[in-house]
């Protein structure tokens, strides 16, 4: 579904990604773990067209997306929930959700999906007329995921959805991610620092260090890999 082939991305003259390659197949939950500054967010931004790679190629459904404008990439079904959630603060919950469906023309489908996400997170239905900026961190994360779902993604990219949330809320969010993957048949690419929980949820994982992929294996094996256990799981 998504093939990332040896991409290198730069910020000015600084090479943030060194020949990164990834493969994501339809229906999978793939996680990318690594420390702060390893290049995880840059990888997502490169895929979404916000910081296009200088070399290498990114193919989505067999079509290269390198150099495409971000809105065209969203249109293809590659949708990101960015780090820090980035809710539009002075718009209502409902308006935030409507903006998620900005590129869609099928009103009927949009209405159905609105019902679906409100069902998934009933708190959003309760707060529909409240400004996005006044929600709690957990509620904002739920809104951010729902907003992305409103775009009808084929591949959902999640950047640290657990950041700054209480353990109980993290658990709830991860369960929803699993549910979305199974019920909506959305492929998930999950970027996390919370390696333990991410690997328990995912089918396969990539471990990133200093802009390079260090390991790539099934989630079970990564969980039992001594180097990964020591460096990322603190065991």
């Amino acid at each position: 579904m998504l093939k990332v082939r040896g991409i290198s991305t730069y910020y000015g003259n600084i090479e943030a990604l060194h020949a990164v390659s990834l493969d994501i197949a339809e229906g999978e939950i793939i996680t990318l773990i690594g420390a702060n500054g390893a290049g995880k967010t840059t990888t997502l931004m490169s895929i979404c067209g916000l910081t296009p790679p200088r070399s290498g190629d990114i193919e989505f459904h067999g079509q290269s997306v390198v150099g495409m404008k971000p809105d065209r990439i969203v249109q293809m079904g590659l949708v990101q929930v960015p780090e820090g959630r980035r809710i539009f603060p002075n718009m209502t919950v409902l308006e935030n959700l409507e903006l998620g469906a900005y590129l869609r023309r099928d009103r009927q489908g949009v209405r159905q999906d609105l019902d679906y996400v409100m069902d998934l997170f009933p708190i959003l239905a309760e707060r529909r007329t409240q400004m996005g900026g006044t929600l709690s961190g957990g509620e904002q994360q739920m809104l951010a995921i729902s907003r992305a779902l409103m775009a009808k993604p084929k591949l959902l990219l999640l950047d640290e959805p657990s950041l700054g949330l209480a353990p109980l809320v993290i658990k709830q969010i991860f369960e929803i991610i699993r549910k979305i993957n199974q019920e909506q048949e959305v492929t998930v690419f999950l970027v996390e620092q919370n390696a333990n929980q991410a690997l328990k949820l995912a089918h396969r994982g990539y471990v990133m260090e200093n802009g390079r992929i260090r390991f790539n294996d099934t989630a079970d094996r990564l969980l039992n890999n001594d180097l990964v256990r020591e460096a990322y799981l603190g065991l």
């Binding site: 404008k69 308006e95 409507e98 903006l99 900005y102 590129l103």
Partner: protein
């Protein structure tokens, strides 16, 4: 009392023109944090296009109101094209550059457009025909408010209501608000941010051109330099209301227009600018973010 009302209506008229122009400054600032110093020139060009069109139409024997409407439509289209082009050639290539670069580019475009009109037209003041017809029904109130003032107030009110509705309810309006609040995220939900910025410039230019046509007809003369002072005043109005804030631009324009009119009427017209900018200084001391500007509180 009558004198007061007379000053009040002339203050409101001026103020609503300032507001029309200030909206362009504030919308552009809200989205790309740029003070578009060439915005006053778009207003001036709008007035010039209307003058030329009305001259031609007068030769062909059209009259009053029909000329006004037609001249305004052509001026609006022209100004929109200028605003769009301005953004494309002077600001878009500098997207991502340090903030000072587009600012200098804006000042350059302002000087360029002034001198272009100076050379293409004339350095002198040109008489602008009174296109706004005299209404008979307003005769009994003529000592308080004239036909021209009434038309200006009505047209600017309608324009502002239309703008508010556009921003609140339309798809492009939502995209504009989203871009203003978080441009990065706007891209991630699939908004073509470049297009939103273009539309913002076009809307601002349309409002400025409407202002230009109305003022030309109201004051009765224009030259290449009218955009400069109007631009400074409108910019002041935008800052007064809280730059980036749309109702703020309207409020700022009205406060500025009224304080000018009262200063001119009760003290001396030589002091109107002193008063206008004095109000600005005072408000910025008491409320640095402007009348309606506010530091938005947000949970993280």
């Amino acid at each position: 009392m009558e004198y007061f009302l007379q000053l009040f209506s002339s203050g409101l008229t001026r103020g609503s023109i300032y507001a029309l122009i200030a909206l362009g400054y504030t919308m552009v600032y809200g989205i790309i944090q740029l003070i578009n110093f060439a915005h006053g020139e778009i207003y001036m060009i709008g007035a010039f296009v209307a003058l030329i069109v009305s001259g031609v139409l007068t030769i062909y024997g059209f009259s009053g109101a029909s000329i006004l409407v037609f001249a305004a439509v052509v001026a609006v289209i022209y100004a929109a094209a200028y605003g769009y082009t301005l953004e494309r050639i002077a600001y878009r290539p500098l997207r991502g550059a340090p903030r000072l670069s587009p600012l200098i580019s804006a000042i350059g475009m302002s000087i360029f457009l002034q001198n272009y009109v100076l050379l293409a037209q004339t350095p002198d003041f040109l008489p602008f025909p009174a296109l706004i017809p005299e209404f008979e029904f307003i005769e009994p109130l003529a000592h308080i408010i004239g036909s021209a003032e009434l038309v200006i107030l009505t047209v600017s009110t309608i324009s502002m209501i239309a703008l508010t509705a556009l921003i609140k309810y339309s798809r492009i309006g939502k995209a504009m608000r989203a871009t203003q609040q978080d441009m990065h995220m706007a891209r991630l939900v699939g908004i073509d941010v470049d297009r939103v910025i273009s539309v913002t410039f076009v809307i601002g230019s349309v409002l400025a051109a409407i202002g230009g046509v109305l003022v030309g007809s109201y004051i009765g003369q224009i030259n290449f330099y009218i955009g400069f002072m109007a631009g400074i005043k409108a910019f002041t109005a935008a800052v007064l209301g809280g730059i980036g804030n749309i109702p703020g631009a309207v409020l700022g324009g009205l406060v500025l227009g009224l304080s000018e009119a009262f200063a001119a009427g009760y003290i001396s017209s030589a002091y109107e600018d002193v008063f206008a900018f004095g109000v600005l200084v005072l408000i910025l001391i008491l409320r640095p973010a402007g009348l309606l500007g506010r530091a938005v509180k947000q949970k993280v």
